[in-house]
Structures are given as structure tokens and as C-alpha cells.
């Protein structure tokens, strides 16, 4: 009798146990950081969390919405373990609606949203097909959505439905931030007689005043201060390489991605420095980014303040290679760029490129609106 009573008491106590609260264990993992800090405690917390089932997934996913990359991976190991276990069971009641809301919340970090979309592919295979084309303004899924719009345009064009094709390609062009997709969409629109300005869309600076080459032997160009860095006066004449007289030359770059070839514009040379200068008018004060790439390297001054410079050589111009946050003021802003040209590579067949690409955009990569001021005219 005593034994039965004991069992009943135990059952009763168990029934009264509060449900598992994952918050303390999630908080332990959130403290992981640099230098492997917090790993021992995180391992214990992780193992405890992984003992539980589907009920911890919503809180786990909320915790995974973090910029702490180390903590995110600890959480992920729990997520993968629970999901694998639950997928093997038939009776799991998945919080599908929570998953859909989570994956659709563009304010959340992209990585776990993508993970949940992968799970939804298993739980509700039709979801992705309907949902993804709607994500044109979603930084995490924009690339795929634009790809779908381009494919839809191609299908319409193949079916001779030009109107539908134009609509899809325009949608793709407006939404695209990836330079390859921007140029693809623009080319497709142009093939249908439509206009599409990639330069404006990406915020590429293509109107320049150029001066150079200044003499800069033995890779001294990056550090050496030449006159344009002290003051830009477009009427000034400088003494350049080999004693040549240098003046500022107006240049309009026609490359669709704003790739400026200084070998063509300033002459093929080596161990030199060239300057590119532009003045732009922006309608309002705003945070923006300057994104640039140069061969061999570049330094950028905005309104007389140096905002970027990287002392590297022989590394090639690549689109959006360097990204720097800037603050543009309303009205006139000046941009000065210094591009260094190093010595010829020891292999004479390696081309000695001297080039620059620079654009002004928001943090998603959409070009900001600006007008070039025709300085010096």
C-alpha cells in the first residue's frame, strides 16, 4: 500500500513539473564569443536543449536570430539534432504557421530563415514555389526572386508575350542588386526596346576629372602625398612623371559597370599615381556606402576627408571589392580617388592593369540618386 502511494505521489509530482524553459540554456549559449569563450558551458547547455523536442524550436529559432556567429552555430547543432529526430517521427505537430511567419520576417538574420525554408521544403513542398517570387525586396532571398522573375520573362518572351516579358524583366531590374543580375535584366529589357540605366541603378560614378601619371617609384605612391591630395584646383598644372606637365582632363566613362581604364586615359606606365575627381549633388543628407575596387590600389577622400585607403598591390579590380560607410551631405559633395600603379610583374605576360571602379549606394547595394556637378566649366 505504501509502495502504491509512493508511486502515485511520484506520478503526481511529475505531472506538476513545470514545462521545460529553454531560456536559461539559450542565454548560456548567447554568451559564447571570441577566443572560444563560454564553450564549456555552451556544450552543457547545448546537450540539455537537444534532449527536448519540437516544443523548444520556436524559442530556439528566435535565439538563432543573432549576429553572434559562434552562438548561432551552437544553436544550429541543437536545431539539426531536434529536427532530424522529429522528422523521423510520424506524429510530430510542426509549428508550420510560426515557420512561415519566421521565414517571411525580413528583419531577421538571413541564415536561420534559410534553414527554416529548407525545413518547409520537406513539410510543405509547395510553399517555396508560391512564396519565393514575392521576395524581391527581401535582402536574403532577393537573388533567387530576381532569378525567378528573369526566368518568367524569358518564358514570356519565348511565348511571344512581349508585354509580360517586359513586366517581368522590369521587375527583375528594379529589384536586382547583384551586378550580374542588373546587367542581365538591363540587356533583356534593351533587347525588347526598353531603356535600363545600369549606371544610375548601381550608383556608378562615371564622370571624372583625371590627372596623372605622377611619379611614384618602388611602391611609394600609396603613402606619398601629391598636390591634388592637399587641394584640388581643376585649373592647376602639375609636374608629373618624366617631367611631363599634367592638367585635369574631363572623362566620361562609357563602360556599363563604370570600369575606368587609366592605362587608356592617362597612358600606359608603371610606378605611378593617378587621380580621379568628381563633384556630385545629392538631394538630402544621407548615410551611404562607397564601394570601390582598383588595380593596384586606391584611396578615397569624401569632402576632403579620407574615408578609405588600402595599401595593396597587384590585386585586381573586382566589383564592390571594398565597402566603406560614408555620410553624404545635402548638396555638393566632392570625391577624390588616388589610384596607384605598381611595377611590372616579373612575368612580362602579366598585364599591368591600372583601373578603378567606384559607386555610391545604400547598404543593400541600390545606387543613390545624385547628379554630377560640371565643375570647372
Amino acid at each position: 500500500m505504501t509502495w502504491i502511494a509512493g508511486c502515485l505521489m511520484l506520478v503526481g509530482l511529475t505531472a506538476l513539473d513545470p514545462p521545460y524553459d529553454p531560456a536559461p540554456h539559450l542565454a548560456v549559449i548567447a554568451k559564447t564569443g571570441p577566443q572560444g569563450e563560454g564553450s564549456v558551458a555552451a556544450k552543457v547547455a547545448r546537450d540539455e536543449l537537444a534532449k527536448h523536442g519540437i516544443e523548444v524550436l520556436p524559442q530556439l529559432l528566435v535565439a538563432m536570430d543573432t549576429s553572434n556567429a559562434v552562438a548561432a552555430n551552437w544553436y544550429r547543432t541543437v536545431y539539426e539534432e531536434i529536427v532530424a529526430r522529429e522528422l523521423a517521427r510520424d506524429e510530430t505537430k510542426w509549428p508550420i504557421e510560426f515557420f512561415k511567419e519566421y521565414v517571411s520576417d525580413a528583419k531577421r538574420v538571413g541564415r536561420p530563415r534559410r534553414l527554416v525554408l529548407g525545413l518547409l521544403d520537406k513539410l510543405e513542398p509547395a510553399f517555396r514555389e508560391k512564396w519565393l517570387p514575392t521576395r524581391l525586396d527581401d535582402a536574403e532571398f532577393r537573388y533567387e526572386a530576381v532569378g525567378l522573375a528573369l526566368a518568367a520573362g524569358d518564358r514570356a518572351a519565348k511565348d511571344k508575350d512581349q508585354s509580360a516579358a517586359k513586366t517581368e524583366f522590369r521587375k527583375a531590374f528594379e529589384a536586382a542588386r547583384d551586378s550580374t543580375q542588373v546587367t542581365q535584366a538591363a540587356a533583356k529589357l534593351k533587347s525588347l526596346g526598353e531603356s535600363a540605366d545600369t549606371v544610375q541603378h548601381l550608383g556608378l560614378v562615371t564622370e571624372w576629372w583625371l590627372a596623372g601619371p605622377f611619379d611614384a617609384p618602388k611602391k611609394t605612391g600609396f603613402a606619398k602625398v601629391f598636390e591634388p591630395e592637399e587641394q584640388v584646383d581643376l585649373q592647376t598644372k602639375y609636374r608629373g612623371q618624366d617631367g611631363a606637365e599634367l592638367t585635369w582632363k574631363r572623362h566620361h566613362e562609357t563602360d556599363t559597370l563604370g570600369q575606368l581604364d587609366l592605362n587608356k586615359q592617362l597612358g600606359t606606365t608603371r610606378e605611378a599615381v593617378g587621380y580621379a575627381y568628381s563633384e556630385i549633388d545629392v538631394p538630402r543628407e544621407q548615410a551611404a556606402q562607397v564601394r570601390c575596387g582598383a588595380d593596384d590600389n586606391c584611396s578615397v577622400w569624401l569632402n576632403g576627408q579620407k574615408v578609405f585607403g588600402r595599401d595593396q598591390w597587384l590585386n585586381g579590380t573586382r566589383f564592390d571589392r571594398f565597402i566603406t560607410p560614408i555620410q553624404l551631405k545635402a548638396g555638393r559633395n566632392t570625391l577624390l580617388v588616388k589610384v596607384c600603379q605598381g611595377p611590372q610583374h616579373k612575368d612580362p605576360e602579366v598585364p599591368n592593369n591600372w583601373s578603378l571602379q567606384l559607386r555610391l549606394c545604400d547598404e543593400q547595394g541600390r545606387g543613390i540618386t545624385f547628379k554630377t556637378i560640371e565643375s570647372g566649366r
Binding site: G36, S39, A72, W74, N315
Partner: protein
């Protein structure tokens, strides 16, 4: 009952012996001695896409890291996704190929990458208790051998993203209680030693003068000390692996270095190219030892990607374009040169007196390493493209193809 117990013990003994007796493990990049050579025996010399294939398992992504074998476990890393930021560490059963565990993780700072290798160029390394996996995203993960995550370092988050057009490829090494990772890139480069237990820094040595390279570090004994050797940016640097302080430098390497130096006969053998130079160098000394410690040089037939191999008195290499050469290890003089066929990314391996050169088409040329002359034993086509260096362990030859992990052994 007693007889059952005896049978069980006997079976256990057989299992243990089969797992441990037939040669070495392959614990990291280029095997037990980090030079492609193992004392393993019984390795098959002939196979095809079907012949002598014990098992074949699909991989979830791309990579050129070599398989790592410890006991009955085979570890492979891979990456996938648009930016290759989805990272995989997989453990297969050596005998059956069954997936024993699979960890999926996020890379914290993906970079530009090479289409064949993604973020999984560096080979993982194990000490038999823990597995350390470094990825081109700048992440280092430490697992127990059952797949439990023990610690992670997001070093590209901590010290700046790697600026690397093909993603970082350097395979870390273990030294005493440290994991040493070479991080040469266009940004702020460094070599870092992490505590194997905790992941914390033991030392970090900045390399402000270097740029991009994909070479892996090497250890070389020198008198009563061990030196850590890093190639990259037109030079080879020797470090104290206990402190990270720089000891010496040899100038004259290629601008961007990929091959890993090999060690033997009291020398370091270093190649970098293409159109570069083979060096045989005596370690030791301090400062610039270019003029005092270079034993020989040879500027013919250097490679950009594949590492060389030293077997006995001879030094072998297949360059990227498929030209094989054999040099005298003591003098650097050419012994023979042959067109092997097709291009090479994988580095050669050796066991049982044989040399194995696997080209990008998936054909492995087997040579007799006991002969000074060129002696071809076989050419084996696995039927798939191969960019990763093979592994040899316990009588098996492990080939990571572009899509699969294949275990070759005598059936």
C-alpha cells in the same frame, strides 16, 4: 555461457586488430608525416570505377580537403550554397561507408572562392581525440570524434574577413597542445596558434608584409628545436612554434605559394610556381639565411598547386600541366621527366614502395618508387574528376572525387 564469452572476446580482438594493425592512420593534410608518405602496406595498385571499390558515398558539397582517417572513422569537409557558406563536417564508417555523423554549420565570413573547392580546401586534422576543421570562411571548429562540437573560433570575425579570391586553403597542423593556422591573405595576415582544449589564442604572430597564399604550414626538426615553416609572398619564414617569434627567412619563392614544403635528409624541400624554383634548404640559423642555407636550387618543372613528395633519395613532382619529374634529393639534378597526362591539382601520395599521382580526370598513375628509373605500375581510372589529394590508411586508398568519397581496397 563461458564459451560464448570467449567467442565475444575473440571477435572483439579481431575487430580491434583489423582496425589498428594494418598500417597508419591518415590524421590530416598529407597524412601522418604531412608529406604524403605512409608506412602502410597492402594498398591496392589497380582499380577502376567498379573494380576494388569497397564503397562510395555522395558528398553534400564541394571541397578539395583530403579525407582524414582515424581508426574506423573517415572525416571529410565540404561546403555548399551560393556563397559556399554552408559548411559540412562528415564522419563515415571506414569499413562500410555508412554516415556516422554529420555536422552542418554556418561559415561566418564567406569570401570569393574557387568553383572546385569552395570553402573546404583546408584539410581537417585529428589527434585521435578531437577533430579540428578550418574553413575558408575563417572558422575553426573543434569536435570530439563522435561529432560533438567542443569549441568554435570565428577568426575572420575577430581579426577581419579573409580577402581571398579563391578562399583560404591552408591546412592547420597540430604541435604539442596547439593548433597552428596560417592566415595569409590580402588583408592583415597572420599565423595563429590556438589552444587545442579551449580554442583560445596561445600566440598570434602578425605577418604585415605578406599577401595572399594558400600554402600550409610545416614543422621541421632543427638541432634541438622544432621550427614552424610558412611559405608565401616570395619567401619562406621559419618560426618558433612555441612562441610564434620569427627565426629566419629565405627569399626567392613565388609571389603566391600553394604547395606545402616537405622534410627529409635534414633539409626542407620547397617548391612554388609556376615558373618558380625548387629549393632544398637546411633549416636553422637566424635572419636572412638565403645565402647561407640553400643547399640546391632547380628552376625546372615547378608547380603552382600540387605539392612534391620525397621518397628515399628521390624527390618527385607532377606540375599543374601534367609534367612529372624526379630529382635527386641531395643534388637537385633531374633523374627523369615524363608527361603524365592531363592536369594535376592533387598532391601525390606514397605507400608500400609505390607512388600515386592522381590527375584531374580521376586517373591515378602508380609508379614503382624503389626504382631510380621511371617504372609505371598501373593507371587506374576512378571514372570521376578528382581535385583533392588522396589518403591511404589501413590498406585502403581513399579518393575524394568532385562528388563522392570512394574507398578503394582489395576485395
Amino acid at each position: 555461457m563461458r564459451s560464448l564469452r570467449i567467442v565475444a572476446v575473440f571477435c572483439g580482438l579481431i575487430c580491434f586488430l583489423s582496425a589498428t594493425s594494418n598500417g597508419d592512420n591518415w590524421p590530416g593534410w598529407r597524412g601522418p608525416n604531412r608529406n604524403g608518405v605512409t608506412s602502410d602496406a597492402g594498398v591496392p595498385t589497380t582499380w577502376s570505377a567498379t573494380e576494388n571499390v569497397l564503397w562510395k558515398m555522395p558528398l553534400p558539397g564541394i571541397g578539395t580537403s583530403n579525407p582524414v582517417v582515424w581508426g574506423d572513422k573517415v572525416f571529410v569537409t565540404a561546403s555548399e550554397g551560393r556563397d559556399q557558406g554552408e559548411l559540412h563536417v562528415i564522419c563515415f564508417d571506414r569499413n562500410s561507408g555508412r554516415e556516422r555523423w554529420h555536422q552542418r554549420l554556418w561559415g561566418t565570413a564567406p569570401t570569393l572562392f574557387y568553383g572546385r573547392s569552395g570553402m573546404a580546401s583546408p584539410s581537417p586534422v585529428t589527434d585521435g581525440q578531437r577533430l579540428f576543421a578550418f574553413f575558408g570562411t575563417g572558422d575553426v571548429f573543434c569536435f570530439d570524434l563522435d561529432g560533438g562540437l567542443l569549441w568554435q573560433r570565428a577568426i575572420a570575425d575577430e581579426y577581419g574577413p579573409f580577402e581571398n579570391r579563391f578562399a583560404a586553403a591552408s591546412s592547420p597542423l597540430l604541435f604539442e597542445d596547439k593548433l597552428i593556422v596560417q592566415c595569409d591573405h590580402y588583408g592583415a595576415s597572420y599565423v595563429i596558434a590556438l589552444d587545442q582544449q579551449t580554442g583560445a589564442n596561445r600566440w598570434k604572430s602578425d605577418r604585415p608584409e605578406v599577401w595572399l597564399s594558400w600554402s600550409s604550414p610545416q614543422l621541421v626538426p632543427s638541432g634541438d628545436r622544432v621550427e614552424l615553416v610558412l611559405s608565401g609572398s616570395e619567401k619562406l619564414d621559419g618560426y618558433d612554434p612555441r612562441t610564434g617569434s620569427r627565426l629566419w627567412t629565405v627569399r626567392g619563392l613565388a609571389r603566391e605559394c600553394v604547395p606545402t614544403p616537405v622534410v627529409g635528409h635534414g633539409m626542407l624541400f620547397v617548391v612554388s610556381g609556376p615558373n618558380g624554383t625548387h629549393f632544398a634548404i637546411k633549416p636553422g640559423g637566424s635572419g636572412d639565411i638565403t645565402d647561407s642555407h640553400v643547399v640546391w636550387k632547380n628552376d625546372k618543372g615547378t608547380s603552382f598547386v600540387p605539392s612534391a613528395i620525397l621518397v628515399g633519395e628521390r624527390y618527385y613532382l607532377a606540375d599543374d600541366k601534367g609534367i612529372g619529374s624526379c630529382l635527386d634529393a641531395h643534388t637537385g639534378k633531374l633523374i627523369w621527366k615524363r608527361r603524365f597526362g592531363d592536369k594535376f591539382t592533387a598532391s601525390p601520395v606514397s605507400a608500400d614502395g609505390k607512388l600515386f599521382f592522381t590527375n584531374e580526370a580521376g586517373s591515378t598513375l602508380v609508379l614503382d618508387a624503389t626504382q631510380a628509373s621511371y617504372e609505371e605500375v598501373a593507371r587506374n581510372d576512378i571514372g570521376e574528376e578528382v581535385y583533392a589529394s588522396p589518403a591511404i590508411s589501413q590498406g585502403k586508398f581513399f579518393v575524394r572525387t568532385a562528388k563522392n568519397l570512394v574507398c578503394v581496397g582489395i576485395k
